[in-house]
Subunit: 248 residues, 2 copies
Amino acid sequence: MEPTITSSSNPLVKRIRRLHRARGRREAGLTLIEGPKVFAQMVTAGVVPEAIIAEASDEATMELCYSQGWVPSLVATEVLTAAADAVHPQSPVAAIRIPKGRAIRHRDSLILNDIADPGNVGTMFRSAAAFGWDVCVSGATADPWSPKVLRAGAGSHFGMHISSSDDPVADAHTAGLELLASIVSGGDDPGRGERRIALLIGSEAHGLSEKITTQADRSVTLSMPGGAESLNAAVAASILMYLLAGES
Amino acid sequence: MEPTITSSSNPLVKRIRRLHRARGRREAGLTLIEGPKVFAQMVTAGVVPEAIIAEASDEATMELCYSQGWVPSLVATEVLTAAADAVHPQSPVAAIRIPKGRAIRHRDSLILNDIADPGNVGTMFRSAAAFGWDVCVSGATADPWSPKVLRAGAGSHFGMHISSSDDPVADAHTAGLELLASIVSGGDDPGRGERRIALLIGSEAHGLSEKITTQADRSVTLSMPGGAESLNAAVAASILMYLLAGES
């Protein structure tokens, strides 16, 4: 099949490229997903994209689109590369509507506070999905619907309850959750109480603020027998979710 | 203090920039570390750098250098930016000799097989250091001494036994270790036997090869009650090290 779009200055490609920037995503209410794996998870979740561009050689995506009655715009490799946000793009690239923010609910929830690195945010989402937790973004956490976070999330966004909160301490308490602060030293060994959990994780550079830590019901710390000072924030969050996971 | 190097075409800056590339590092036997935290860990570990460039405003590094009797080359911010590998560089940038490869020894060891992403390699090193494990790189794993891996490792390289192996199965058995293959489904629950452990982690995209998996003494799998297919490779390795950690 011949590509239907051969130029990067095609209007659809230009609209897609605007979604690389936070402002473009905010104005359009759309974001981008890229690559066959995340696209397949999106289909499984019943999400209908606003636009799809793909290489004709990407047979898996072609079949998925036809099974759904969608007609992707076929593009040359250099057009896909121009449209995609990734450094090493993979077909397809699809624009999807960003879901409306939800509220924290009465389930085990990971609360990301000031997590700056998109890779860390996506990795935490991926682990939360694997262990059956909700996620909540708060503070200066990276945009959970940026293409970078979606890539690191590996499709986990579509199966999860994602909320946002300007006051996660109050909102978690309102939802009936026990608030656990993850701190790098001096906290209790991780253990589950009787209530469902809101696990707070703070910024990579500075951890949680003292204000938030003192408002939590308990603080927890992972033992590090090797003597190193700290773990990557996404690793620490993931180990804690694994250890704390219960019926939720 | 006035910068002593004001031009990015200064010979020292050019020599440092060559270390951004694998070939330049191989030819010189040197690599780069960047930023105050990794630099401080390097000093603590007793490593003496071959060259240091720093901004005069970086007082922590200045003090560390003077305490060691080292004289850093002072540079303007734009020169530091040119010399550094990071997108958001931090003073100082130092060239250090790449340590000679060692052999797997009789300690709990994480064996990285075909881990492509430098961030994942560095994150695994950081977790291994926190939990007291050795690390071994094998197969097509990213260069453990690249600036990207050193950044993600957050200084953990300097406190750890790092080995490399062309035949990790044979070398781990020679070292008397029980070989555990981490697989995404169908393995045993993680548990420690009587012997020290070599934990094998395979590539982000394809996991361990069947050949390596069948040569292992046991396979282990993390339970994922949320139903997602997989965890980030560095997260999975870190949780397994945490769960399996024993006296080593």
